[in-house]
């Protein structure tokens, strides 16, 4: 049997997720044994011309050109995996989405935006699934590399790759962390999807929701708690939006 052809693409992001793939070290050798990486900005240079079994994509979509490229990848790839918060939720790229593209250009480039070629076709940043159908997501900023290996394994085996559908708190309790709320630190663990082994609370840092929300977050309950700990609705919204601004944007449109 021919090895599955895998391509890795970077859209708008810090490329931190692809770096996690490089960090896979010995595991990547196994992975490489099982797959054939045909295109990779961080690793390979030659272009292979499509027909991928799996396309792994990091980053969000911030220009028309990227959107077009993404649609092309979709047409030629059997399976698309979105990796990282940028690709999954839009991530921090969507933080400014409450402003129009023009407003952002004028604030950031102080009137010089017209001179910059790459900005001509800028659009509001979007996660991949706002533009194409995504088959699997490996969330997080950056991704948990073991989860990526798991996802590729599942897809190779023809199994559905399932993310945990319970909050970070579960893993936090497994790690025997005391709860940050008891130290008056506001944590988004109760509504954020587990799978990172409670990376942040385990080093006494609050969760900011980089893995996106569980399927069915109890937002009212979350608001109750956050309010109880003295946060205003505006503060709460800001915290929710760090990694999930696109989702809030969509929900607000729906409710409007």
């Amino acid at each position: 049997m021919a090895k599955p052809k895998v391509a890795i693409f970077s859209m708008a992001c810090c490329a931190g997720c692809a770096l996690q793939i490089v960090n896979l070290e010995e595991k990547i050798l196994d992975l490489v044994g099982a797959i054939d990486v045909v295109e990779w900005q961080e690793g390979l240079s030659e272009k292979s011309g499509g027909n991928y079994d799996i396309a792994i994509i990091e980053g969000s979509i911030v220009t028309e050109k990227e959107a077009e490229e993404l649609r092309k990848i979709r047409q030629t790839a059997k399976i698309v995996i979105a990796i990282g918060a940028c690709a999954h939720t839009g991530g921090i790229n969507c933080l400014g989405n409450h402003m129009s593209v023009e407003e952002k250009k004028s604030i950031v480039y102080d009137g010089d935006a017209g001179k910059i070629d790459g900005l001509k076709d800028a659009i509001q940043p979007r996660p991949l699934n706002a533009i194409i159908k995504v088959d699997a997501v490996v969330p997080g900023c950056p991704i948990n590399k073991n989860e990526l290996v798991e996802a590729v394994k599942c897809l190779l085996l023809g199994k559905k790759f399932r993310l945990p559908d319970y909050p970070v708190c579960f893993e936090c309790a497994l790690k025997e962390n005391g709860c940050l709320f008891d130290l008056d630190i506001i944590c988004l663990g109760p509504i954020t999807r587990a799978g990172c082994e409670a990376a942040c609370p385990s080093i006494n840092k609050e969760c900011n929701g980089c893995r996106g929300w569980v399927d069915d977050p109890n937002q009212n309950a979350a608001k109750d708690i956050l309010e109880k700990y003295g946060l205003s609705i505006e503060d709460i919204k800001k915290r929710f939006e760090i990694f999930n601004a696109y989702k809030t944007e969509i929900m607000e449109k729906k409710n409007a």
Partner: protein, 343 residues
């Protein structure tokens, strides 16, 4: 029953000796930030035997039903059963957690016996310690789990400068005989102090179950459709912490995991919990308890009624860990019974 006494310094010397011998894992209660956990000991000074707040995870569950355990290894068509159980000594298990181990025994040592659990239990030596500084969220006195007379090898009771040791097993006898120079036979006065300490502690509990525990299964019979469950569900995150931290929540999930070469793999079991949405989900995606209120209700019925009818033992030992850990403030069996009782 045999009792001996040991000076505190002597006891710590003994623990250090055990650690040095490296014959088995020596695990005890230690401080972690504002909490306590059971952990491998490097030195007896780490031990906090007068702890009041129950450890974050219960010791029985942590070491008898590890969070992740390999049950089977397979390679191509052949498989091999895995049953790893290394000798381990636990130091500082409170009576409610000893009661919880009884609940686990009822579940795992009744037919069909769980071989992995049985092997681990056989290899475990338990040194308990009486719970003399109850935490405000514990309610052991009201359900009778504040004291215990069996289910341990040794039980320490702090009477000031020394511990009285109650011996309840052959292994315990042998242990005391082996280290006879550390202890003295207990005197009648020692035993008076022991009773006194336990009885005094019983009066210190701030929280109590409003009904006698024998009344609870009957009481719950007609509370199944009570609106309270939906009320509580509005606040629940389905985070499963109330299950994880509970010493008698012993549900697990079993999964086969293949390696990348697709030739070999393992069968693993991992902790699970009925408060999680995925818990009652079966093939094709049907979920028997898809609604939060169903899951919350199930936990309470499991603790206060189902285990009684199935195993003749109460599934709640009153430790209060679920109360300590629920950020929504809705997990307390005491509050739930109080509210149901007011209707």
């Amino acid at each position: 029953m045999r009792f001996v006494s040991v000076n505190k310094e002597k006891f710590f010397e003994l623990v250090n000796l055990l650690i040095k011998q490296k014959k088995e894992r020596i695990v005890g209660v230690v401080k972690k930030d504002d909490d306590y956990i059971f952990n491998d000991l490097e030195n007896a000074v780490e031990l906090c035997l007068d702890y009041g707040k129950p450890t974050l995870l219960p010791p029985g569950k942590k070491y008898l039903l590890p969070r992740k355990e390999t049950l089977l290894k397979f390679q191509n068509a052949s498989s091999e059963i895995v049953n790893e159980a290394k000798p381990i000594t636990l130091i500082g298990v409170h009576p409610y957690d000893l009661w919880a181990i009884k609940v686990m025994n009822a579940v795992f040592l009744s037919e069909p016996i769980d071989r992995n659990y049985a092997e681990k239990r056989k290899n475990m030596f338990i040194i308990g310690v009486d719970y003399l500084n109850p935490h405000p969220n514990s309610f052991c006195a009201s359900i009778g789990t504040y004291e215990i007379h069996d289910g341990f090898d040794l039980l320490l009771t702090d009477i000031g400068k020394k511990y009285i040791i109650t011996i309840d097993s052959e292994k315990g006898e042998k242990f005391i005989d082996k280290y006879i120079e550390f202890t003295k036979e207990a005197t009648a006065i020692d035993l008076l102090f022991l009773d006194n300490a336990v009885n005094k502690a019983k009066e210190k509990y701030k929280l109590a179950m409003p009904l006698k525990k024998e009344e609870l299964p009957k009481f719950l019979e007609d509370k199944y459709d009570n609106p309270l469950w939906t009320e509580l569900a509005k606040k629940c995150f389905s985070c499963g912490k109330c299950n994880l931290v509970c010493p008698t929540c012993v549900c697990f999930n079993i999964e086969d995991k293949a390696e990348l070469n697709l030739q070999e793999g393992v069968r693993e079991r991992e902790w699970h919990g009925c408060a999680l949405k995925e818990f009652a989900e079966v093939a094709m995606g049907h979920n028997f308890r898809g609604k939060i209120e169903q899951r919350l209700r199930h936990r309470i019925y499991r603790k206060l009624s189902y285990t009684v009818s199935r195993y003749g033992i109460y599934g709640c030992v009153g430790c209060g860990r679920c109360i300590n850990s629920c950020k929504a403030g809705i997990a307390s069996p005491v509050e739930i019974i109080k509210k149901l009782n007011k209707e």
